[in-house]
């Protein structure tokens, strides 16, 4: 950590693009620092570029030759005279290489230490740390002999997954619902694994067909001190992509919330974690099971719902901590007094299998009103580039109850006008009006069939 010399205005290098770059520029302003943007040539004219005090072009449009190159970002940090680098999410945000290059230059990195990034960056090592910290993880058992599989499966409980130890990418995974099925499929799976991966070793893992994705926002002081900023539910997903997030997670019992928060606190303490992070869990809706998924060692896309719910500025806190200052985060209750919900508006065509839909945005109008926040880099006349992800904006609404928030968000989403490209707004209109979502607590497997059903109804009507 570097302390900026007394009296000097600290310089923040923003090593990202899109809405999060705009967000980091705002946080830099918030703490009285000077934001400098490290941008690809394609983003030289972006909103973040115009809001920053200076822009340094680090490479061409392709992320592989610009945003994904730690040495270019570190070089830009040197050029900028940066005191701290904030890498947002994605790109280099969790790359220990960038953190190390900066450390060598005595420039702070607004994130955890490189060793923490390595410890949580790998699923196996993350699971090991979690287990050591007493965090509940998914029960898994290796099968030595396929003929004993059923007995092991009975001990684990059903449904469960048969996975190849040396498999990957979802291949060789089988779902079984009972002892008989397991006994029948295990030898078959072993044979196939042997054929496919040259090794027949299998393991069994509990499968939760109707679990929610709940995550806990943490902030560590780097010395074992931990603050927990509530939880978020991010269960509305399409192909593991989060679509809608909310804070707090609705309908969690006090006991269950305590398990999540305590486990997260223990993990952060064990890691002597520095800065903002997220501990992700599966929360089963059919049992009391809670299972650690992974830890994200960065600011998340969905951080605004936590900020809105608690009235805090997590990105400014990251910058302050990295600069050796008090992050100025209050202690908050486990459940905030208001509810915040976010929808991600993507440049994708929902009626065409969510195909990315870049192009000229001829006109855009964001909604206004109390409790409405829009995090975006998109303006009228912006040519949405094809090189990067499709996130156009995050529309966040805060209200005094979940019911009020859902309704307010529906009105706000309805008032968004985007012309020139197709967006995921119809999806949000669908979800925000759906009784299941309005009731709260849908699982991660809810969206896909619900959307299918909606599409088939539309097709029927059209015929």
């Amino acid at each position: 950590m570097t302390n900026a010399p007394e009296g000097k205005i600290p310089v923040v290098l923003v090593a990202n693009r899109g809405e999060i770059a705009v967000r980091i520029v705002a946080a830099a302003r918030r703490i009285g620092a000077s934001p400098v943007l490290a941008a690809s040539a394609a983003d030289a004219d972006s909103l973040a570029a115009r809001l920053a005090d200076r822009v340094i072009i680090i490479g061409p449009a392709q992320a592989g030759k610009s945003y994904l190159r730690p040495e270019y970002v570190a070089e830009a940090a040197v050029h900028a005279g940066a005191d701290v680098v904030h890498a947002g999410y994605g790109f280099l945000s969790e790359q220990p290489e960038l953190a190390e290059l900066l450390e060598a230059q005595n420039i702070a990195f607004a994130g955890p230490r490189p060793e923490t990034l390595r410890a949580v960056g790998d699923k196996t090592s993350a699971r090991r740390v979690a287990v050591a910290a007493g965090v509940p993880v998914a029960v898994a058992t290796e099968i030595d002999d396929p003929s004993f599989a059923a007995a092991l499966g009975d001990a684990l409980g059903y449904p469960l997954l048969i996975k190849a130890v040396h498999g990957g990418g979802g291949r060789g995974i089988r779902l079984v619902h009972n002892s008989a099925e397991l006994a029948e499929l295990a030898p078959q799976a072993a044979a196939e694994a042997q054929a496919a991966f040259g090794n027949g070793a299998l393991y069994l893992e509990r499968f939760y067909p109707a679990a929610r994705h709940v995550e806990v926002q943490v902030f560590g002081d780097g010395e074992g001190g931990v603050q927990v900023f509530g939880d978020r539910d991010c269960s509305v997903q399409r192909r593991h992509q989060k679509l809608i997030e909310e804070c707090p997670a609705p309908g969690l019992s006090k006991a269950r919330r305590l398990v999540l928060h305590d486990a997260s606190r223990a993990l952060v303490k064990a890691l002597r974690y520095r800065g903002a992070g997220t501990v992700e869990f599966l929360v089963d809706t059919e049992s009391d099971d809670v299972v650690f998924l992974e830890m994200n060692a960065r600011i998340q896309v969905e951080h605004p719902v936590t900020e809105e719910a608690f009235g805090i500025d997590l990105v400014a806190a990251q910058l302050r901590l990295a600069l050796g200052l008090d992050p100025q985060l209050p202690d908050v209750p486990a459940v905030p007094s208001v509810v915040a919900i976010e929808v991600r508006i993507n440049a994708e065509d929902p009626d065409n299998d969510f195909r990315p839909n870049p192009g000229l945005i001829t006109h855009v109008d964001w909604p206004r009103g109390p409790g409405i926040r829009v995090d975006t880099h998109v303006e009228s006349g912006y040519r949405f580039p094809p090189f990067y992800d499709s996130l156009m904006a995050k529309l966040i609404v805060r209200a005094c109850s979940r019911t009020a928030a859902v309704e307010a968000l529906r009105s706000a989403a309805d008032a968004v006008r985007i012309e020139g490209v197709k967006t995921t707004l119809p999806l949000h209109d669908f979800v925000l009006s759906h009784p299941d979502f309005i009731r709260g607590g849908v699982s991660t497997t809810w969206f896909a069939p619900a959307w299918e059903h909606r599409n088939s109804l539309i097709k029927e009507v059209a015929q």
Partner: protein, 172 residues
Amino acid sequence: MTTPSTPSWQDILDLVTQLDDGSFASATVEFRDVSVRVSRSADATAPAAPSALAPQVPQPTATVVAPPAATAVTTVPVVAAASPVAPVSTGTLVTAPIIGVFYRSPTPGAAPFVEPGATVTADTTIGIIEVMKLMNPVSAGSAGFLKEFLVADNAQIEFGQPLAVIIEDTSS
């Protein structure tokens, strides 16, 4: 929010005044999403197809470099007005293929790779760019003579920044 370099309405009015004060028989001015056509005869104003829909998003800042060139060599056939760095000049620009620090010599104190006025081939190394201790040679990119360097030795440079001007050898 606004567009520093998009002309304001006042700019347009000033332009029209200027055109009227001038001695043009006709004039057409198009800039971004703006076009102005005037004529002293009644024929010339047939509105060409509604002019180019260049994004009205403003162009940034002093440190940003001319055309976001994907290649390291850019031909500058006319006045290069876009970049605050590039002087008005003809020739071919050698632009930085990478962010870093530009050195004209292989090591401190050594003689420069080339001096202004020297003849170069496309492969002649004209300098190196250091990025985080890694050295990347920069070659002239075209044959001719090196008219001038546009950045100082030891300068911090960005991707795409014009480094030197090559006057191409048209005889070859």
